[in-house]
């Protein structure tokens, strides 16, 4: 699965969200409680979700209304939620503890996110057809 992390690394660099050193620090270092500010953590969670959605769905689909909702928890876990509003579908929901993030954990989360999105792709197709 190491290919997934390196693909995410390339994607972050291509989109110029971070420079090479920042990407290395984010993806390959062990995170701590204060690794990122709340705002920076939420941005990072959204980038993870956008990368996963792009892998599963390709580019944006004008027929859908997709939202990415990051939440940086303090006492409670953080989460990233991806929803589609026209069909009122939760495409992915993951609770996370970013203080545990390291290369292995980030890749595991990306893998889980992609699996949930793949499942919801089928569900979405059915709901668009059945519920209009």
């Amino acid at each position: 699965m190491a290919w997934l992390l390196s693909e995410f690394e390339d994607w972050l660099k291509e989109n110029e969200y971070y420079d090479a050193d920042e990407v290395k620090r984010l993806l390959y270092w062990q995170w701590s409680e204060d690794h990122l500010s709340t705002n920076d953590l939420e941005n990072f969670l959204v980038y993870m979700a956008c990368f996963a959605a792009e892998k599963v769905f390709g580019g944006p689909d004008a027929r859908l209304s997709v939202r990415f909702i990051p939440f940086a928890g303090e006492a409670s876990p953080s989460s990233i939620t991806i929803i589609e509003l026209k069909t009122r579908t939760v495409l992915a929901y993951l609770e996370l503890w970013p203080a545990n993030f390291n290369a292995f954990e980030i890749e595991r989360v990306l893998g889980r996110m992609i699996r949930q999105l793949e499942d919801s792709k089928k569900l979405l197709a059915v709901r668009v057809m059945v519920e209009g």
């Binding site: 709340t38 909702i69 939440f71 303090e74 989460s79 939620t81 929803i83 589609e84 509003l85 009122r88 579908t89 939760v90 495409l91 929901y93 919801s120 569900l123 059915v126 059945v130």
Partner: protein
């Protein structure tokens, strides 16, 4: 100011009055904070007298309480316990200078039950808060049917 005086101020807004009692019973805020939040127009994105060291947490918590109150009204007080057949999560998306949202999700059927607030909280006032609560309750009432159908069709 005591709770009774706060409730008197909300006499013409029964839903907001009920929400005030709920906030007090659940120890979310004290009487003075409830008065600031529900009886007056906010003097910023959140009442300045109540701002803690994290404004977004303050706004997000208030939005979560609105969603919890609406959920309890529609789905009963066990909506979050093991007795419930649903797996509900509330996700706030507070913002200081943009629109704030609160989402109510049901994870077993992957359903977005409600999207609340959807506005800047700047100068949030009692009428608007009551309107947003009514809207949350209406969405949650509609979600009952949708979830029932999805429980059958998805399985």
């Amino acid at each position: 100011m005591g709770l009774e005086e706060v409730l008197e101020k909300l006499a013409d807004k029964p839903l907001l009055k009920e929400f005030a009692e709920w906030l007090y019973e659940h120890k979310c805020y004290g009487e003075d904070a409830i008065e600031e939040l529900l009886c007056k127009e906010w003097d910023g994105a959140y009442p300045s007298a109540l701002i803690s060291d994290d404004l977004l947490v303050d706004i997000g918590s208030f939005l979560c309480f609105m969603a919890m109150f609406a959920l309890e009204r529609v789905y009963g007080e066990d909506w979050w316990t093991a007795k419930s057949r649903l797996h509900i999560r509330i996700v706030p998306e507070p913002s200081y200078d943009d629109r704030s949202y609160v989402y109510v999700l049901e994870l077993k059927t992957r359903t977005v039950m409600a999207v609340g607030c959807e506005r800047k909280t700047w100068h949030y006032d009692p009428e608007t808060i009551e309107g947003d609560l009514k809207d949350l309750i209406e969405q949650l009432e509609k979600s009952e049917g949708l979830i029932a159908v999805r429980m059958v069709t998805d399985s």
